[in-house]
């Protein structure tokens, strides 16, 4: 057995065990509460979430089965200075990723300059050749990005993953804050917590900014795969908050390269589509012909510049796990800046030397599928059994190009309300970065927490929960 590190950086107590200054007012307040108070509040939260119906559908269960995402009532607090660093780092990273996307779908100078091997981009399953040479409004591809951040080691931030396709979770960020303010109004009086509820306004503004040229008062809609999608609650929530129509593929029709929605007053033109459907399902005439979710002819309207899709088609090539190790180079190449946020060292198992190292050290590493998501198809070395490692060894040898490996990060912990009272659990953070004419974000993001003791998997589909995230104003 390799020794797994036992000391984790804790958001409240750092490495020393002392309550950190930014948690001081909270701790003082919470310690004065009667002991049963928190348990009562947690029950109250469960009842409220059930009644309001904030649920997510779970795949693989009975069609339409709904579950509550467990909500933890202890906030994750981020000091103002840390957030300033994060904010700059996130803006820098997303800016570079957008420049990269614009480049590879147009001039491809980064490939010509030999910074990244051309085959890595052009042969990537997420590269969409139909996008080659096409101009998108403002040159923005990833209008909405969800960047997964963890703290490790002595508290330094790492980017774990850039989600540039259809990142979800922002509705939980907003609902968690609403819930906390309802449950613990007193706690907010003692802390200057930066507000986040203007996110839908920023999002709508961003979407309007990227409307096709010449459209002065654009009609924006949100395109959902439908009510059985796991994120359907979020789709309805955001559409409602922005005051835009929530449409399904069947509601849209394309005529003369223009997209219309079917309304009770006849067809109405649509200018911007915030789509929450994957590329492959958008248009059966161009992508998967069996897709019933999409809109026949949508791509032709998009190509003609008559409608904007957010995010653009083909952004997956930039958030793919095989592209991830190159992001620091992208930042230097496009912006001429040093990356502000760290990348996690990554072994690409298609490379012989990397593969050799990884197979020798499976027990210490995390192995991920290049195209995987949701915490599925992942091996967490230190927590794995011999049989699981043997299985992954075979999988890697059969398809090395499908896997990457990373060191097992000592994810930071945050006090969480567990059976035994407040106990540390591992967390991550997903801030949402909006890119229109400028790059903007609300302070904070969605904090996910692995509720099982010792677990490092925070995904809601795998027993993860969420917390409210407080960025302090000072």
């Amino acid at each position: 057995m390799t020794a797994t590190p036992k000391v984790f950086f804790d958001e409240m107590r750092g490495l020393t065990g002392e309550v950190q200054p930014h948690y001081q007012p909270y701790v003082e307040w919470v310690e004065k509460l009667p002991p049963e108070h928190l348990a009562q509040k947690r029950q109250e939260a469960d009842v409220l979430f059930q009644r309001v119906g904030i649920t997510f559908a779970v795949y693989g269960e009975e069609a339409g089965a709904e579950r509550l995402i467990p909500f933890d009532i202890i906030p994750r607090i981020i000091p103002a200075a840390d957030w300033r660093t994060l904010e700059r780092g996130l803006a820098q990273r997303v800016k570079a990723l957008n420049l990269f996307l614009r480049d590879i779908y147009n001039e491809q100078s980064i490939l010509k300059d030999g910074i990244i091997p051309a085959r890595k981009v052009l042969e990537n399953a997420q590269y969409r050749s139909v996008m080659q040479g096409m101009r998108v409004p403002g040159g923005t591809y990833a209008h909405i990005a969800g960047v997964d951040i963890v703290r490790a080691g002595e508290g330094e931030f790492y980017v774990l993953e850039d989600n540039l396709r259809v990142p979800s979770g922002v509705s939980y960020m907003l609902e968690n804050r609403k819930m906390m303010m309802r449950l613990f109004p007193e706690a907010f009086a003692r802390n200057e917590v930066a507000p986040i509820d203007h996110y839908p306004d920023l999002l709508l503004d961003t979407l309007r900014q990227v409307a096709p040229e010449g459209v002065s008062d654009p009609t924006v809609v949100l395109l959902t795969p439908g009510s059985y999608n796991s994120a359907y609650f979020e789709h309805t929530f955001l559409a409602q908050q922005m005051g835009i129509e929530l449409v399904e593929g069947q509601d849209l029709v394309v005529r003369d390269q223009t997209v219309y929605m079917r309304t009770t007053r006849g067809p109405k033109r649509v200018d911007v589509i915030y789509r929450r459907i994957d590329d492959d399902f958008l248009d059966p005439q161009v992508f998967r012909p069996d897709s019933l979710l999409g809109v026949p002819g949508l791509f032709s309207a998009y190509r003609a510049g008559r409608v904007t899709l957010a995010n653009a088609i083909g952004t997956g090539v930039a958030d793919d796990k095989s592209m991830y190790p190159h992001v620091p180079e992208l930042i230097e190449y496009y912006l001429g800046e040093k990356p502000i946020l760290n990348n996690v060292p990554t072994w690409q198992l298609r490379e012989k030397a990397d593969r050799h190292y990884a197979l020798e050290h499976l027990q210490e590493l995390v192995v991920k599928e290049v195209h995987g998501s949701g915490g599925y198809g992942m091996l967490v070395g230190p927590a794995s059994t011999m049989a699981q490692r043997a299985e992954f060894r075979e999988r890697i040898l059969a398809h090395p190009e499908k896997y990457i490996a990373q060191p097992t990060l000592t994810l930071s912990t945050c006090p969480t309300f567990a059976e035994e009272g407040m106990a540390p659990r591992h967390i991550d953070l997903r801030p949402f970065v909006l890119s229109g004419k400028e790059v903007r974000m609300v302070p904070g993001g969605l904090t996910r927490v692995a509720l099982k003791e010792g677990s490092l998997v925070v995904n809601s589909s795998q027993g993860g929960g969420t917390k409210d995230t407080w960025v302090l104003e000072r």
Partner: protein, 319 residues
């Protein structure tokens, strides 16, 4: 407004109203089944009361695909709890809740919470729970939840197109149901001609009136014995009785006058035509045609109206 949204809202309210009406239909059946039917000469034909809800809602065939015997337990199970019967109270409440979930952006939080709560409670009920005390208690619960939802809708929702389609759904479903419940009497042959105007006849009519919450209205208006002519007048022609066909068509016609424009005129025209027949109708004429025939003709017309509303608003077919 998106056609699909309008369509969902329309069906959301239809299903909630349907749950209430199924409860009313079963309630009248239950009340009639308590009457002394079985005192009759052998060989005479009469409809078993528990067959009535199946016949009038057109579900007899699907019932007999599932059950061999006609019994109160089976009918109640089929019409209340059977998830495979799309018109059972269970299914209606589920569909109402599912459509509201799909259209959360278009309904108020209070409306959604009410339908969600109703569904969560319904889901927790077993057949034993429902029949433990009086079945009427359960029917009252369904009616209460429906009244509550309608009141919440009335009290919280913006008066936009969505609201109008919700109201059309309610009134079309209600008109349909009032016509069907009135038709129940047609299928209920009395043991013998001597019984017409007798005790059984009286109790049947009063059970019917009660199931439509119209018994005391009848008393207040006529202050006299219950006669078929008056019941028909009350539930078909009077526009001050909230569940009468006339009252329902008043509401529908009024809303369609708001919704329809020059390009979409047919629904308004058809509603106006049906409305005029009720507005200027006479009971004598209804009985000349025959009550059953008259009601069937009415159901055909409202069916046609539903088709027109679909074509022009809810499921437009343009390409």
């Amino acid at each position: 407004m998106l056609s699909r949204t309008a369509n969902d809202l329309y069906w959301m309210s239809r299903h909630m109203e349907r749950a209430e009406n199924t409860a009313r239909m079963l309630d009248v059946t239950y009340r009639m089944s308590l009457l002394p039917y079985r005192v009759m000469a052998p060989g005479e034909k009469w409809a078993e009361p528990w067959a009535l809800p199946l016949i009038t809602t057109g579900h007899a065939t699907s019932y007999y695909q599932r059950y061999t015997e006609l019994s109160p337990e089976n009918v109640l199970h089929f019409m209340v709890l059977d998830a495979s019967n799309s018109s059972s109270i269970y299914s209606s409440l589920q569909t109402a809740r599912e459509t509201a979930r799909a259209q959360r952006g278009a309904v108020t939080i209070e409306m959604w919470e009410s339908l969600n709560e109703t569904w969560l409670q319904m889901r927790a009920k077993s057949f034993a729970d429902i029949t433990a005390r009086s079945i009427s208690e359960f029917f009252d619960w369904v009616k209460d939840r429906s009244h509550l939802f309608r009141g919440i809708t009335f009290g919280t929702m913006i008066r936009d197109e969505g609201y109008h389609f919700i109201r059309i759904g309610t009134f079309l479903e209600r008109a349909d149901n009032t016509a069907r419940i009135l038709d129940v009497k047609y299928h209920t042959l009395l043991p013998s001609v001597h019984d017409v105007g007798g005790a059984v006849d009286y109790y049947q009519w009063s059970a019917l009136l009660r199931s439509l919450s119209a018994f005391s209205s009848y008393r207040q208006i006529y202050r006299d014995v219950i006669t078929p002519l008056r019941v028909a007048e009350l539930l078909i022609l009077r526009d001050d009785v909230p569940r009468s066909l006339h009252a329902c068509m008043n509401a529908i016609y009024e809303i369609l006058q708001v919704l329809c424009d020059r390009e979409r005129l047919e629904p308004e025209r058809l509603a106006g035509e049906i409305h005029a027949q009720l507005h200027y109708g006479k009971t004598e004429r209804i009985f000349k045609i025959g009550l059953h025939e008259y009601l069937m003709q009415f159901l055909d017309q409202t069916g046609a109206l539903n088709v027109e509303i679909n074509k022009h608003f809810l499921v437009p077919t343009y390409q």
